[in-house]
Structures are given as structure tokens and as C-alpha cells.
């Protein structure tokens, strides 16, 4: 599966409070509403600028902080198709895969805001159409690829009832 979209560039240590503030997430489970506020404290215009299928590109330790699963869910509902980062915080990474939002660990240092990217999830190959560069992402373990291919852990459990390695 190849995904095409535009890069939205962020820095290091983007925590889940920045992705979706606790001010909103405790109030509602309505993801359409939450998605209007993604990244608001860092970049107030982000929710309006992001297009369906775009990618969020960050530095190290993306998703640190609280375990709120609303973070990857709100990103997904805002239209983000995948997140690329140098590294992810552990709980965020699990939550992202569990909700069917691909999280790819790769060298993001030469991707800038607005770059057009093409990502092949199976091979982990990322092509930057704006620079002509190719980047390799770390391969995902089989259990995560299975969860992603079912569209998330809820779908996976509905089908299989329990996890198997």
C-alpha cells in the first residue's frame, strides 16, 4: 500500500498534551470535535491546514507524556495518514498502531515542511518527491503489521478474540 501526502514538520518531544490538550479530551469522545483542536497549543492553524492523507513529521520522542489514546485518534480524524519520527514514546507508539495510524521510525532530519512524500508501508520505503531522496524506515514487528492490516486492535480482537504472536 503506497500513501502520498504532504509533510507537516514539527520538532522534538511533542507530548500528548500538545497533540490534544487535556482541556478537550476529558470532555468528549467525539473525535470530530477533538480533531479541530489537534496541535492547537503549538500551532493554532494546524487543524485547518492539514489535508486528508498528509503526514506529520517530527523529531525525537514524539507522543511523550500522558497515555491518552485520543492523541493518535484525533490526529487520524484530522486526516493525518501516518506519523514519521526519529523516535516515539512507548505508550503513544502502541496507541498509534492499535488505532490503525502507522507510526514509522526513520531519519526525518532532511524532511522539511511542505515536502511531498510517498510511503510504502510494507517495505518501509519513503520517497521524498520534493528532494528526490529515499529514506528507509525501521520495519514493524509482525504483531503490529497484523494489527495495522486489520485497521486497528478493536477490529483485530473482534475477528480473532485474543492476541497471538
Amino acid at each position: 500500500m503506497v500513501m502520498k501526502g504532504r509533510a507537516h514538520r514539527f520538532g522534538d518531544d511533542i507530548n500528548t498534551d500538545y497533540i490534544i490538550s487535556g482541556r478537550y479530551k476529558f470532555k468528549t469522545l467525539d473525535m470530530a470535535e477533538l480533531s479541530c483542536h489537534v496541535m492547537e497549543d503549538l500551532d493554532p492553524g494546524f487543524a485547518d491546514r492539514v489535508n486528508e492523507g498528509d503526514f506529520l513529521v517530527a523529531g525525537k520522542n514524539f507522543g511523550c507524556g500522558s497515555s491518552r489514546e485520543q492523541a493518535p485518534l484525533a490526529l487520524k480524524h484530522a486526516g493525518v495518514a501516518a506519523v514519521l519520527a526519529q523516535s516515539f514514546a512507548r505508550i503513544y507508539f502502541r496507541n498509534s498502531i492499535n488505532n490503525g495510524l502507522p507510526a514509522l521510525v526513520c531519519d526525518t532530519s532532511r524532511i522539511v515542511d511542505g515536502d511531498e512524500l510517498e510511503i510504502d508501508l510494507q517495505t518501509g520505503l519513503i520517497s521524498n518527491a520534493s528532494t528526490g531522496e529515499e529514506i528507509r524506515a525501521h520495519p514493524l514487528p509482525p504483531v503490529m503489521l497484523k494489527i495495522l492490516s486489520e485497521g486497528g486492535l478493536v477490529e483485530y480482537m473482534r475477528k480473532h478474540g485474543a492476541l497471538t504472536v
Binding site: 518531544d13 507530548n15 498534551d17 500538545y18 490538550s21 487535556g22 482541556r23 479530551k25 476529558f26 470532555k27 468528549t28 469522545l29 497549543d41 525525537k60 520522542n61 511523550c64 507524556g65 500522558s66 497515555s67 491518552r68 489514546e69 485520543q70 485518534l73 523516535s87 514514546a89 512507548r90 505508550i91 502502541r94 496507541n95 492499535n98 488505532n99 514487528p141 504483531v143 486497528g152 486492535l153 478493536v154 477490529e155 480482537m157 473482534r158 478474540g161 485474543a162 492476541l163 497471538t164 504472536v165
Partner: protein, 420 residues
């Protein structure tokens, strides 16, 4: 790497019937599951989406209403009602408004024992590592999977071994050790890894202090903040649980990703400056910065030893003019003990607002949102921009003693000034 095994490898291996080694992915049986009011509603939604029926964790799962307790909004009340309905339908323990912060409730009720495997839909679940349990924070959908099937996948973490020695000077506490460690290891220095913290300085701490250190493990990115069990651990569990347990020690030849050692003999009171937890310095560097609000409480420092340390400084004194102090005991048990000791009286007399046991102002959803441009000094574990509900406020993190001294002066103050 050595042939021996770390605490994480032993606990995860025992729960997966496997010779689990760092880097392996295992599916392990769970001993206990927990979710709070910020994560349980989504776990319920995920659980329902899984269409699985009965839960495997009946009698071994708890919901806690602590993040927004009492409810500040009608919409939140509806989510709380969903939690109560789900808990009674599926046989979960429901800890309602006033029971306290989920993590302290889990400890008070004896749900965590050495050697056990616990997941919580809250990032500070790592706190229970101080009781020698492999306890880690997960998301809501992971929690729903755990409730439904009784097991979950884990990547067995590499371990950083940390040895702490030296005797703390008066006025310096476990929180200062923890902040010093976060400053040194940094916010992502232990990502995906477990910490095994020990040594004479840790053995000398009471459980309240050890829990504070394990609580901050996740602020270094760690998956678990483990310690070994000893006589103090056993004494803590006495009367709280009747579950049989077997403490787990690492093998002498266990393989570690990294080993670090610290001497805390000349450690000073530490402060984490806005807006990251690893932005740490000795209190002297920020002394004098004005403070509008203090917070004493949370799953980091809302325990009895913390309230005592703060009360010792506040007793017979008054808050500086124009300063607020919010005190929230971590649980009903802590609140009762603090009442009996007269600590609540001390807080009330000095001018503090004592809140219902729970998360209080920690996460910015109710009770004590700071104003624009205000500095807050807090005993919590996070000082991210917007954390307490206002991105225009500045949060400093410190020990209960440092917070107490600072609210008396209206500016960040070294607590040693008020001792002896």
C-alpha cells in the same frame, strides 16, 4: 549480555511461560488492570467494538474516577455514569469520587504485589514498580484487550541499572533524587526501557519515597521503574493484601543496557523549570522567582510522608499575601491519616484550600487552573505547557518541602531555610 535475567525478563517470562529476553515480543497473562476517568470511557468503547462478551479479568480490574472528581461538567458526568454502569455490569471494582488518585487507590487496596504484572490506562502506572511489580501504562484499547482476554503483548524491555548511594541531607527528599535522575537521564533517555533502581540510598527511603521515584520513571520514557522488595515492602503490604507473592530479584549476571550510579550525599533540593521535566536545576538557581499558586498532592507527592514534610514547614505560619495553596491528599486513606495527625488542620490554618482526594489541579481539567503569566510551583510530575489548563502559565516542579517554603514566601525558596 549476561546469561542471567533482569527483573523485567523474569516477571514477563513467568507470565508468558517463556524464557523472555530483552527485545522479545511476548504475550503475557495479566494480574490486574486499571483505568481512570480520562481513559476508561474510550476503553469501554473499544471493548464494545470488540464484541467479546464477558471479561477475563473479573475481580482483577478496577476503574477509578479521579481525574475530574467531582465532575466539573455535565458531559463528564455522563462519562462517569458510563463507567459506573460498565463496572457493575462486568464485575469491576469502581472507585468513585473521593477515593483518590487511581495509583494510590491501587496501592491502598493491595491490588499490586511483588512479582505481579499490572497494566493501567494511565502513564504513571509505572509507580507500582517500587513494589517490585512489572507495572506499565497502556492506552485504552490495550486495556480493553487486557480486560477481555486477560493477556496482552509486550516487548521485553532492555534495562538500565541505577545504583544510588549517600545519605540525604535534611530538607532533601526522594523527589529531589527523582528530579536529579530525570535531569541526568533526560526525557527520552530511557525510552522503551525498564529502570532497576536500588542501592543504599533507595533502601533507606520509606515506601512513599520509593513510589515517588518510580512514579517519575515514565518522565524518562521508561516502561517500568522497578525496585527490589525488602522488609519495608513486606511491612507496607501487611494487612493490605492476602494474595501470596514471591519477590523477584535480578540475577547477578543479568545483562544491562547501561549502568549508572549516583551519590546523593551532597544533593540539593531540585526544581524542574518550565516546560519540560528534564529542565532541572538546584533550587538556588531559580530562588526568588515569584509564585502565584502552589500544589501539594498528586500520585507523585500526595502521600502521608509528603503531607508531613509540607506541614512541618507550614505549621503556625501563613501563606504569603496573594498566594494560593492547593492541597489534595492522594487517597481517602491518606486523607484520614492526615486528619488524625492534625495535618489537614495545619494546611487549613495556614490558608490552603484542601481538595477532595484525587488528581485535583494536576492535569488542568478542574480545580485550580492558573491565570495567564502566573508561576505555579507543584509537587506533580509534569510541567508541560498547558498541563494545568493554561498554556500561558509556567509550572515549576519540586518536593513538598520546597513548595511549602515557596508559598510562605511568595517566591521560590530553599526549604532548608525553614528547618532546624
Amino acid at each position: 549480555m549476561g546469561a542471567g535475567r533482569t527483573i523485567s525478563e523474569k516477571i514477563l517470562g513467568a507470565h508468558a511461560d517463556a524464557d523472555a529476553r530483552a527485545g522479545d515480543i511476548v504475550i503475557a497473562r495479566l494480574d490486574y488492570c486499571m483505568a481512570q476517568d480520562g481513559t476508561a470511557p474510550l476503553a469501554i468503547r473499544s471493548f464494545e467494538g470488540m464484541e467479546g462478551g464477558e471479561i477475563a479479568m473479573k475481580g482483577r480490574a478496577a476503574f477509578c474516577i479521579d481525574h475530574n472528581a467531582p465532575s466539573p461538567l455535565r458531559a463528564v458526568s455522563d462519562l462517569h455514569a458510563q463507567m459506573r454502569d460498565f463496572a457493575s455490569k462486568y464485575g469491576l471494582e469502581l472507585n468513585d469520587v473521593g477515593e483518590g488518585v487511581c495509583h494510590q487507590v491501587m496501592l491502598d487496596r493491595g491490588h499490586v504485589v511483588p512479582g505481579s504484572l499490572v497494566i493501567g490506562a494511565d502513564s504513571h502506572t509505572c509507580t507500582y514498580g517500587a513494589l517490585n511489580a512489572f507495572a506499565t501504562g497502556v492506552g485504552s484499547t490495550d486495556l480493553a484487550t487486557g480486560l477481555l482476554s486477560g493477556s496482552l503483548w509486550f516487548r521485553v524491555p532492555e534495562t538500565i541499572k541505577i545504583r544510588v548511594r549517600g545519605t540525604l541531607e535534611p530538607g532533601v527528599f526522594a523527589k529531589d533524587i527523582a528530579l536529579m535522575m530525570v535531569g541526568d537521564i533526560t526525557a527520552d533517555g530511557a525510552t522503551y526501557m525498564a529502570l532497576e533502581t536500588g542501592g543504599p540510598a533507595i533502601e533507606a527511603l520509606d515506601l512513599d519515597g520509593r513510589l515517588c521515584i518510580s512514579n517519575l520513571a515514565v518522565e524518562m520514557g521508561a516502561k517500568a521503574g522497578l525496585m527490589e522488595a525488602d522488609e519495608k515492602t513486606r511491612a507496607f503490604l501487611e494487612g493490605r493484601t492476602r494474595v501470596e507473592y514471591e519477590p523477584v530479584s535480578p540475577d547477578p549476571d543479568a545483562g544491562y543496557a547501561e549502568e549508572r550510579s549516583y551519590d546523593v550525599g551532597d544533593l540539593e533540593p531540585m526544581v524542574a523549570k518550565p516546560h519540560t521535566v528534564d529542565n532541572v536545576c538546584p533550587v538556588g538557581e531559580v530562588e526568588g522567582a515569584p509564585v502565584a499558586q502552589g500544589l501539594i498532592g498528586t500520585c507523585t507527592n500526595g502521600r502521608l510522608a509528603d503531607l508531613r514534610a509540607a506541614a512541618e514547614i507550614l505549621k503556625g505560619r501563613r501563606l504569603a499575601p496573594g498566594v494560593r495553596l492547593i492541597v489534595a491528599p492522594a487517597s481517602r486513606g491518606v486523607m484520614l491519616a492526615a486528619l488524625r495527625e492534625g495535618l489537614i488542620e495545619t494546611f487549613t490554618e495556614c490558608g490552603a484550600a484542601v481538595m477532595c482526594p484525587g488528581c485535583a489541579s494536576c492535569v488542568g481539567t478542574h480545580q485550580g487552573i492558573p491565570g495567564d503569566g502566573e508561576n505555579v510551583i507543584s509537587t506533580a510530575n509534569r510541567n508541560f505547557k498547558g498541563r494545568m489548563g493554561n498554556p500561558e502559565a509556567f509550572i515549576y516542579l519540586a518536593s513538598p518541602a520546597t513548595v511549602a517554603a515557596s508559598v510562605l514566601e511568595g517566591k521560590i525558596t530553599d526549604p532548608r531555610k525553614y528547618l532546624g
